[in-house]
Symmetry: C2
Subunit: 599 residues, 2 copies
């Protein structure tokens, strides 16, 4: 059961959420960046050790990879965790549902963990929580939007947990840590950066962000606050790196709105379908506004679209006139030009509303000639093929399709180079660790920081499981802890070394051959071995194959002295003979199971 | 054995290759495009049938997909085939090596096929030929570069065939067809477009092309010839569509050279690695020139890099000073700044030179700090992940990596919108069929043609297997023939409906459970069923699982009346019981094989 308690900054003191206070402790003004002097100072400080214990930052996910973001920040016997995401499995993990972080380190230090602070509600930041909160019984802190999305998930898994609502400008005290929440723009409402005050200095964790000068919710990434904190002194910046390879600035979300409005004008009279992430509430907000302006009724299609818009409306993140919303069953009562259907499936997900519509498998809606479908999203790397398959299928049905290659119908939620530089300049950190990216992103982000005057020695390239130690005036790598992935496989949890995955991989590429030999029924000179293959032989060749395989085994058995036999030896021999026979015949080496039955 | 006979236009008469002749037959001047008048004329012509038989164009690949391009053009009892490509299998085809076209139609019409004409030597245009030429014993026509690449392939497969060399401006007579070869620029040397004269009019097939105003070989896409043919009259344009979604013009290959030269300057003193397609001879030519200018010795790494550069040099498509080439074993004798290593692996192929270097598995070369690696190629859609894995691994080894996101180190070989418009304008075809693209590309290409004044009725959207009938003044869809894919699987050839693929898919996602029950050994009340699973149960749970599965089966058997049993009924019952047991336990439905042994 969810004990979500809506404690805003007005009533949050009970749960450690305080109103912002003037901060005097533990922050000191650092001089403007002077690399040379700083290095001297650093070396000095290595020699003259301070009394304070160091802060340890442990990277349990999200570095050297896109996905499953999770970072532990530790001081003395206290740990706070930032985010707890998942990653989606790719082809290399056949049959795996989800990939979640290995949190052995947190479990081993269970008693230290004070809470989990969430930057925002995307799957790669909260999707692993059902597999974390079942082991760590600690409170979770996030914005209403983040917690609404988390609660959907936790209800499904039937896990009890405690959630505490926070908002930008709130202060949260967790043991020796004090966390200030900073408003940032991103492709989901309710996104936060964090300023984590520790006894040895402030850490800024950007979460995922962009700088949008025309934000839909009217409230910008709080650049001023980043600047103020920079002025007071930031010891360490942990900054996301997703778009570090892209020059310039990301497009404003408002620009997408203008493009969409143009398309509504262009396609007046036609039935409009728009697919986007259900969690991209600002995109949906714009679409609802535009629909109202163009006098179109809106129908939602797809489970997450219905659930999330409802949840977002309930907490005030999405506002619309209920009279303009109609049930998807009722669309036939309206003319084409009076309809907007907002649907899931922007990533070509097989079971989503739009994918089913494209393949004629969505009973309530038939897409065809005259319809217009807008993909208001970019394919996430790896999803391109699935997305284009849906686009092709829609075109074949006669629909017109607009996607990001053709019009500015999507804006990224991640900061490009100049935005990243803005945050670096404003926070002016003593030390920097790039996060949230593959190694190439982190590396480029390091170069960006160096180009702005940072010294390479003050930057650490994080790796999965790396523990970094930070003092007031130094930062250093301090070894590695257990970290990695857990694979959610139905009810099972595996890892990369699991037998199951390796077996599936071989099965998928080479198939399997089962040979059963009933030793007890051996008559004169023959055992009539029983052969079944799957994924090896094409039907038309199956009969001849089986016959030949049986005679190959039978002749191998005849040559073996069966009176003094060792069953393992017989099995190994049959396996070898069979494997060679199959390879010669098919150029494949299937998995071979040899079963000897003895009475 | 290859009977490749180098018959250029000077000596080609014997094999039907003639010098260009003034053409008067079968071509008539068409007026400038006047859609309305033309339609009237068309309708008239439907009524007043001409005496001539129609030409049939059959699409056996490359439409509605990227890859395995192959088109049959037929008049009376003669067929010529344009290209014979392959496609690379993606995750949906586990264990499949290659995808080649289903040529049932050509086999059924074997006696009609006069020859295969190749536009260029990329895999998606020639890679299927070993699986075509083993069934169709017809001559193949192509440029020296195309035939050199084909010959490598055919030698490997040990298939005898006859190859005839052609060059731009050559004319080839094949029965009622006369084929004129037209020089085009593309990302491989020796690329051709075709003008196929038929009794009912000219067909232009562009092959793959771009318009490069600064081509490396000094010879441009022959725009003048396209214009002359347009003036004489083009009945049908078959034009490639790969980059139809990209605005403007493609970048010149020379521009890539300038970028590369800048990088050579920037990284003077460092060891340079450049990875590109071995068949991109013009890229390699530029790199060899630049290396010479910067006094770097060149070493080739990777089998195809060595083979193809050698073949290209032999036929004069690549020229370099042999003294500047060194063996990869000898690189240690030179300073870092004196070396350029050209290697395979630009697509992150697992066994390529660069991938092995990145993972420290290439014994002759150790990449590390101070080295610079340039990916002079874009990831082909679907290869992104593999490419970025290699980039990340190289960064981790300390190398600097330059790829297309960071600098203009690659130029596409395909025409963008303005280039496509140029060809449409110059050839001014009566009818148009977009080819070489997914449905969305073909659709956009159709729209491009309409925007230039064509009437939608004069454009046909081709589909796999579609047969199009063309007369002097009409074009129409005329049904479908068998077409699709054949899957090269070791020595086997399957298709989408093959049992093998379906079985592998289930095996890969759910695993397999084999239950063997020896009915002959049934003692009192028990059969001791034997259970093996693969890809289902994690090791730590395996023992308990097997025990429980056995008791589930044993109790199911006890409930069955075994005196009057039907073996199939018992098997079905065990399968059901076992499947339900496993689903409850793992949320998976593995393949279940039940084997009853009876004495």
């Amino acid at each position: 059961m969810n004990e979500n308690q809506n404690l805003t900054h007005r009533e949050g003191a009970n749960f450690g959420v305080e109103k912002k206070q003037p901060q005097t402790k533990q922050r000191k003004q650092v001089s403007n960046r002077q690399p040379k002097a700083q290095n001297l100072q650093k070396e000095q400080n290595f020699a003259v050790k301070t009394n304070k214990k160091p802060v340890k930052i442990t990277f349990l996910g999200g570095v050297g990879e896109i996905g499953k973001n999770i970072t532990a920040i530790e001081y003395d016997d206290e740990i706070i965790v930032v985010d707890g995401g998942l990653a989606f499995p790719t082809g290399e993990f056949p049959g795996i549902d989800l990939v979640v972080p290995d949190i052995s380190y947190l479990i081993a230090n269970k008693s230290k963990v004070k809470g989990i602070v969430l930057t925002h509600g995307h799957e790669d930041h909260i999707g692993g929580l059902p597999y974390i909160l079942n082991e760590l019984k600690v409170p979770v802190y996030g914005t209403p939007m983040t917690l609404a999305l988390l609660d959907n998930k936790m209800q499904e898994h039937r896990i009890e947990y405690k959630a505490v609502t926070v908002k930008p400008k709130n202060l949260l005290k967790l043991g020796n840590f004090q966390i200030e929440f900073i408003k940032v723009s991103h492709s989901i409402a309710g996104s936060l950066a964090l300023c984590i005050s520790t006894p040895v200095g402030n850490i800024i964790h950007t979460g995922d962000f962009k700088i949008d000068f025309e934000p839909i919710d009217g409230s910008m990434t709080d650049l001023t606050r980043f600047g103020e904190l920079g002025k007071k002194g930031v010891n360490l910046l942990l900054c996301e790196s997703t778009n570090v390879c892209r020059k310039g600035y990301s497009m404003s979300e408002s620009n997408v709105g203008r493009t969409l409005e143009g398309l509504f004008e262009k396609f007046a009279g036609k039935r409009l379908f728009v697919s986007t992430f259900a969690s991209n509430v600002h995109r949906l907000q714009q679409l609802l506004w535009i629909a109202e302006k163009f006098k179109r009724k809106v129908a939602f299609a797809g489970r997450s679209m219905i659930n999330i818009t409802e949840a977002a409306a309930k907490i005030g993140e999405l506002s619309y006139n209920r009279e303009n919303i109609i049930d998807i069953d009722k669309i036939d009562k309206y003319a084409d030009g009076e309809l907007l259907i907002l649907c899931t499936g922007s990533q070509g997900e097989p079971l989503s509303a739009l994918t089913r519509m494209a393949h004629g498998e969505f009973p309530k809606v038939k897409i065809g000639e005259g319809d217009v479908v807008i993909f208001s999203a970019s394919p996430i790397p790896g999803n391109e093929k699935a997305v284009y398959n849906v686009i092709n299928a829609l075109y074949k049905k006669g629909a017109d399709v607009i996607y990001d290659e053709l019009a500015e119908v999507h804006a990224s939620g991640h900061a490009c180079q100049e935005e990243l530089k803005t945050i670096h300049a404003l926070t002016n950190p003593k030390f920097f660790i790039p996060i949230h990216g593959e190694y190439r992103h982190l590396k480029r982000h390091k170069e960006l920081a160096i180009s702005m005057g940072m010294n390479s020695r003050d930057i650490i390239m994080p790796e999965l499981g790396m523990q970094v130690e930070m003092g007031e005036n130094y930062i250093k790598q301090a070894g590695f802890v257990t970290a990695g992935i857990r694979l959610v496989d139905g009810y099972g949890l595996g890892d990369l070394e699991s037998n199951v995955l390796k077996e599936r991989k071989q099965l998928s590429e080479e198939g399997i051959c089962v040979a059963v030999i009933n030793m007890s029924s051996s008559g004169e000179g023959g055992f009539e071995p029983f052969i079944i293959t799957r994924g090896v032989v094409y039907e038309k060749e199956a009969e001849a194959f089986t016959e030949d395989a049986r005679s190959v085994i039978a002749s191998a058995l005849r040559e073996q002295d069966l009176r003094s036999f060792d069953p393992n030896e017989i099995k190994a021999n049959i396996k070898k003979v069979l494997s060679n026979f199959i390879y010669k015949r098919t150029k494949r080496r299937p998995m071979i199971l040899t079963i000897l039955l003895m009475a």
